[in-house]
């Protein structure tokens, strides 16, 4: 049970060290290819982001929608307290992969996931794992801002309430204020917390959704093209926000925009036709991609 408040992020990382033991054996089996370029269809792997630890790891993840396979053997390590961006042309499976991490794919009829995704060494597809608890640890921000048709306060307070994170009204007020502050929305909405969240502008709505996600103090935040419905100014605000949030959360962002990936992320993974083609530090992927398809995508030849 992770019922910590954003303000005691240290407590989270302290308790995480206790889980390290469980992590080690996963880390040990991590395949390190001697020369990634020799094998053509293998994922190109770059050296790790050195000091990072990997609490979220995917191994040989395949996703099927009915008969159709959407994702082929994706293995990815997600660095802690950093932004990882998933890029690739439309239909390449990056959103599918993202939705595997908090098991949102469960809600899709006929969707089947094989392989293994571990969070702190725990398989999130283990039948004994409670998906509700998983989603309280792995928050999500969607492509289109989707605040609840309730007040701004209620939007943020809802998550902590259902998870029982606030013991009193004042505690709830504190959580709401801290979340809205962290999402950079507090100064804009502090005088109208009782007004409907749907009355905000698109960019504000998206920040409200981010505040809603961080109100339950997740460890990981998944963002599915969070700026695709926003104008450039709102996008810039959100990107700045993502940069600030990375100090506290592990963030995975799906984006169509290479510029955005370059601006906000430390690690980038390139997907193509359901396969993870190449992953590595963002500057390496952007400047010296090793795989032909990555090069083509970066230079705008496919996509």
């Amino acid at each position: 049970m992770t019922s910590s408040h954003p303000s005691d992020a240290q407590a989270v990382s302290a308790s995480s060290s206790a889980r390290d033991a469980a992590l080690h054996d996963v880390g040990a089996t991590k395949p390190v290819l001697a020369n990634p370029l020799t094998e053509k269809d293998e994922t190109v792997r770059s050296p790790d982001l050195e000091t990072r630890e990997y609490r979220l790891q995917a191994r040989d993840v395949c996703v099927f929608y009915g008969e159709k396979q959407a994702l082929f053997d994706v293995s990815l390590d997600v660095p802690e307290k950093a932004v990882t961006s998933l890029i690739g042309p439309s239909g390449c499976g990056k959103t599918t992969f993202l939705r595997c991490i908090n098991r949102m794919n469960d809600t899709i009829e006929g969707c089947r996931v094989t392989g293994k995704i571990t969070l702190d060494g725990e398989d999130i597809y283990d039948p004994s794992l409670d998906v509700v608890e998983l989603r309280s640890r792995v928050g999500m921000v969607f492509q289109k801002p989707n605040p609840f048709p309730k007040s701004i306060y209620e939007n943020v307070a809802y998550g902590p309430r259902i998870h029982g994170l606030a013991r009193s009204r004042t505690e709830m007020d504190e959580i709401v204020e801290a979340s809205l502050k962290r999402a950079g929305l507090w100064s804009e909405v502090k005088d109208r917390l009782r007004e409907s969240g749907t009355g905000l502008s698109g960019g504000q709505q998206q920040r409200l959704c981010i505040a809603r996600a961080i109100a339950v103090s997740p460890e990981v935040i998944l963002m599915d093209e969070p700026c695709s419905a926003l104008d450039p100014i709102a996008t810039a605000v959100i990107e700045e926000l993502i940069d600030e949030l990375r100090a506290h959360y592990t963030i995975i962002i799906v984006t169509h925009s290479m510029q955005q990936a370059a601006r906000v992320s430390q690690k980038t993974a390139f997907f193509h036709l359901g396969k993870l083609i190449e992953e590595g530090p963002t500057e390496v992927i952007m400047q010296t991609p090793r795989h032909k398809k990555t090069q083509d995508y970066i230079t705008g030849r496919i996509g």
Binding site: E133, F142, K144, F148, P149, I162, S196, R212, V216
Partner: protein, 455 residues
Amino acid sequence: MASPSSTSIKAQADRRRVRVRASLGRRHLVEWLFRGAGLTAIVIALGMVVGLFWIMISKGLPAFTQATLSAEVTFDPDIITAGPPPVRESGQSEADYRAARMAWEGQVARLNWNALVEQAVRNTAPAGMEVDRRTALALVSNIDRHNLRDMFVANPHLLGRTVKVDLLASANTDNWLKGTINRDLPDSRQQLSAATRQLADALYADGKIRFTFAWQIFTNTDSRSAPAAAGLAGAFVGSLYMMLIVIVLAVPIGAASAIYLEEFAPKNRFTDFIEVNINNLAAVPSIVFGLLGAAVFIRYFGLPMSAPIVGGLVLTLMTLPTIIIATRSALRAVPMSLRQAALGIGASHNQTVFHHVLPVTFPAILTASIIGVAQALGETAPLLLIGMNAFVAAIPATPFDKSTALPAQIFLWQGNENRNFFEARTSAAIMVLLALMITLNALAIFLRTRLERRV
């Protein structure tokens, strides 16, 4: 590839414009025709509605006023010979007192109250006019003697006194004075004797007979012996009971099954089968539900005939598919993004449905329910098969008592042999039913707009 000269480009552009213009005329004509057809359809439909309302209101409004005779009634001790009511003596038991009181009331009931009515009419008639017994009693309604008796039982001090009482004129007198019967018809085809007609005209000219608001439509039950006093109270209460039963049963059951089927039930052949059957159920003629009610609720479960409980159950069955289908489509219309937002934050399936999906669909469910209930309220055919078109002259005290319903009452009055009186009564009953429906629908609209504004 030689580039075309500027003149040929211009010629090409001109040709193109001519073609577009030619097609434009055709397109605008089609659009104009379509708009015209739509407008005509609306004008015709509105005209029909206005016509319907006009006929109903013009026919029904006169029924809301009725001829009333303000008469001087003397509570003549020669006629009222029952003596004073018993007084409870010290030492007399409650039961003994009640028995004495009952005996006295029975005695009072057996008195010749018609004589009192007759005397009152005679006293009110213009001086010099001979009024015989038959003439006097034909002028006023049969209900008046009961009313006078009730007055006396409630207030025995009236004995020997003369008071002014509004006597309800008979249905035939009402017809004569309202002109709903041809005054030129020969005596043999008139509803009233020549003497009574003359008396009615004279009293009307004197201002003794006036048209007053017909409260009895709302306070009385149906009546065959005194048609002038026939009212809707019994049917209204019967309909009210049925409506309550439908609201209490159909709305929660319908909404709950829709929520389960749409949100929780696995999608397989069995649930598909159920869905198809619910859709089919909505198309079953209502009279079939009446047969079902008669066979199952009355024959098998032994529930009473002509009772609002059976009517309510039958109408519940009939309303269920409407509510289920409307609720399911409302649930289906909730955007996926809302469910994802809730699930994404870690709400369980149940919490997602009850905290987020249902509040959004609540106005739609409410509207569907009210419209379903309003539909049930106007349904007649199934009621005929479970005996709710019986003549019942009492207001049902419970849903298990014999009763009729508003639409069944309309059906009954429409077939009444006293045509020229009950035509207006029927229209008046339709107006009451429609007013109830419009109120329900207005309530639905009001609640929907109010609730939608809140979210």
